[in-house]
Symmetry: C2
Subunit: 582 residues, 2 copies
Amino acid sequence: MPSLRIALCQIDIIVGDLDSNVDLILAAVTQAEEAGCDLAVFGELSICGYPPEDLLFKPKFIEDNRAALARVAEASGDCAVIVGYVDRDESDGGEPDVAAPDLSKVPGAPATGAVLNAAAVCANGEVKGRYVKHWLPNYNVFDEKRYFRPGDEYPLWSIAGVTVGVCVCEDMWVDPSPVNVMADGGAQLIVNINASPYHQDKVEARDAMIARRVEETATPLVYVNLVGGQDELVFDGTSVVVDGSGETIARSKQFAEQVQVADFAVTDSKPVSLPVTMVTDRPSASVEGLPPKLEPLLEPLEEIWEALVLGARDYVHNNGFTDICFGLSGGIDSALTAAIAADALGPDHVHAVMMPSRYSSDHSLSDSEKLCQNLGIEGRTISIEPAHAAFLEMLTPEFETDEWGLTEENMQSRLRGVILMALANKFGWLVLTTGNKSETAVGYSTLYGDTAGAYAVIKDVWKLQVYELARDYNRRANREIIPENILTKAPSAELRPDQRDDQSLPPYEVLDPMLAEIVEHNKTAADLIAAGHDPETSKRIARLVDIAEFKRQQSPLGTRITKRAFGKDRRMPITNLYRGNP
Amino acid sequence: MPSLRIALCQIDIIVGDLDSNVDLILAAVTQAEEAGCDLAVFGELSICGYPPEDLLFKPKFIEDNRAALARVAEASGDCAVIVGYVDRDESDGGEPDVAAPDLSKVPGAPATGAVLNAAAVCANGEVKGRYVKHWLPNYNVFDEKRYFRPGDEYPLWSIAGVTVGVCVCEDMWVDPSPVNVMADGGAQLIVNINASPYHQDKVEARDAMIARRVEETATPLVYVNLVGGQDELVFDGTSVVVDGSGETIARSKQFAEQVQVADFAVTDSKPVSLPVTMVTDRPSASVEGLPPKLEPLLEPLEEIWEALVLGARDYVHNNGFTDICFGLSGGIDSALTAAIAADALGPDHVHAVMMPSRYSSDHSLSDSEKLCQNLGIEGRTISIEPAHAAFLEMLTPEFETDEWGLTEENMQSRLRGVILMALANKFGWLVLTTGNKSETAVGYSTLYGDTAGAYAVIKDVWKLQVYELARDYNRRANREIIPENILTKAPSAELRPDQRDDQSLPPYEVLDPMLAEIVEHNKTAADLIAAGHDPETSKRIARLVDIAEFKRQQSPLGTRITKRAFGKDRRMPITNLYRGNP
């Protein structure tokens, strides 16, 4: 059987950083060449990063990214390079048509524009050709129909004597798939390049889809994914090669850069009915029968942990920061955030700020100090009392009442926000926020207070999972890094005497499953009631989710780890009187 | 020639408020019936409001909106009703398929879902049929390919002896248009229902498109639009009837609800090649030859004014508030915001808060007081000095330096934010923010400070236009409501002694045109330089726009009045290292 040596090039690129992205690509190509590879494969839009969003409307961005691709092509040799980039369709006149449609130009027929999501095939100093993505996802976090014109061609490529079909991401997920068309048309190997963001259970879904395509076509499939964080998305890597019999020959790391070289057998040559472009004709140096190279898959909680660590690290570093600060309250959310930040950035770069008020309990401070010691992070204490007193004195005459309420609770949270932002401004740090998905869902937060910050590390983690992650972290470390008292005390915002979360919310064991139904599964109060939940609680919780939309739209990004995160995934109007009651 | 009497029903509906929307629709239908109309026409998605966004993924929302349509149909009589609503396609099995595609279900082919953007034709207690929108806009602020399955049928309707073609919004804007297909297929009249958001010059673009379709088809066209604000969008109404000769027979008000009745001649009956559904057969009571009914069109600056007033009013009222507060600084931006708010909500509902610091000038307070008097709004003064002093005392030991800088400037702005939010929380007000588009573009604002608030009234107004609107407002009022001193003083944030905007930014006469090129026309620094702008300024300004994205994503919504506003219109990554330099 014919075989190939391939490099799965799983690199952490940054949106818009064209020069550095090309540098990373060329370094990996050099590794692949030194290893005698026939083919080096990179992820979708590796040249410009994914998703570039409305940068795609800038004509110069398209041209600069084409120039960046030319650098890759020029450096290519006998090892073919397959890499994702943005191209434009010059077939209808050569003029770039990348702006959003201009409806003021009568007739101004809305075009999707002539920008293409493409995979270039390069070798020996040239771009040999391109494949244009056929299927453009426009759901969940994806908006590709906003930007791209779909392709409709099935080019094949002759690489080291093997006929190869190349396609992009979504093209593998549809029925009928371009994968099958290309395998039927003569491809002995399918290469699928991806920008496939992580969520829980994504690896299993992907493996199942790859297995299905291989079973249908009896043709090996190379799947290469990006790795790294980009705003709310984190790409998990986990690139694979599955041979024609369905065996996994290679699997790359999760959440880490890697250039993995693998030799594997491809399908015997078959009749070719699609156009083939010659790319390279150097015979392959690959060897058959080597053992598979499989990086271990992480356990579910560790997988989430690594996603959160990589998401936070890349957000901080790629935006030009090294250090972060955050408010450490003595509660579980900020404790978990601290541990993730220490893992992501190194303890020296993490600055915890304890900001007690007249309502803070003693254990909040002592637990926090213990956590800082255990993590090796800096902790400082700044009482909010002087500012709190000043504001009460300034505002009480205005209030016409001295009744204590939400106003005074929110104020304490906002004073803490002012302190954190002042420290961040002064020292050049980013502020991390510590709210979890349950709080974010019901609006149990203070806008410009505890939501003030650049990145919300555990925004997509339900409260019950916050506890699981914290316990699993201690377990893996084999010691009590997060103090047991933090894990066991009743959750409280400590904004009034003896406040506890469960005074205003149902216990999280009840709340979280209801919220998941509403947020992730589009259920309404009526649906919850029909499923047996308490009617009044169902209506109240569903309403809280709806009316908190204004807070979420002004809250920071955070790493997406579920199939429906708050962010691009869930686009709700703020002005919305639909309640979905029976 | 045959003729019809039609009611253009331009109503201000709220997303998700199904019952109230139907009440408004039925009240208009009653008016139409009492006027002896043959046909009452409502805008796109009038039943549920536009845009419903991800509410469309809730199966119960679709069903509830179908039930709401049934209420309209039941109440209909001999006056046919054409109204936009959401339907679902039951052709492929009857099961709702409204969830975002579930890629974990192998094979999980991404479907656009079976939700339809439809126009119902109702009469005599029944839904007689529907038209499903063919062309789904997925650019600028629109995401319709995320939600809807397109239609492909061209049904015609027999109403009072006239064959009518019905289509939805975008269907009129494309080539070839369903308008032409239906006119060629026998339609004597085209009805186009719309949810067409306002921006400057939109009315002219629409008129040109309508004129073009009428000229091509020699068939009269009825264009009905929504009116009212929905988050960042404002629908301007301005519904029209254009007869087969191109004459405008009726034009409804801009930015106001109206049920306008008009009689007009339709095309003589012609051969019919498309399927026709009988809707009503009562002969029309319409009269030919009546004079046109044309509401006057507003002047350009007044048009923008009314858009801003309606956008702010509907945001405040539709979210359940009556009163607003805001920081009145003595500058032009907050003065203009005050005037718009007073116009939108009534002066009694507008609460100005003056929050001087040690750097505020005397004229700031005196000008502000004069403005409050002129507008008849409440003004109160709360010095930030006590809180400012408290924070400096709390933080100076932390700072390891007593150098004055951005940290201290931002802090003052944030203390003002705390005060405004406390007042809003205590009294049940909304906070309006006062930043303009130029500031928003370059990030000349303090996050959680002057960006703290629910609605940014003049967010999409360039600074130079802020002055124009303010002067035009005084001119129309024929008196100096906004004091001349506010119009003529040099812009300053007053966050340090003798601060002026032009110390850190070019003059607005230079800045605004550059920003418009970058923000609205996708230009990069290199493009600006090639067009003759100063190289260093071009690079600096383009960079400021890029790096302020994190601020914009946490800033409140504001009314869109340009063809490219910050918001759904312009979707940029925060993590983005593309600079577009030469």
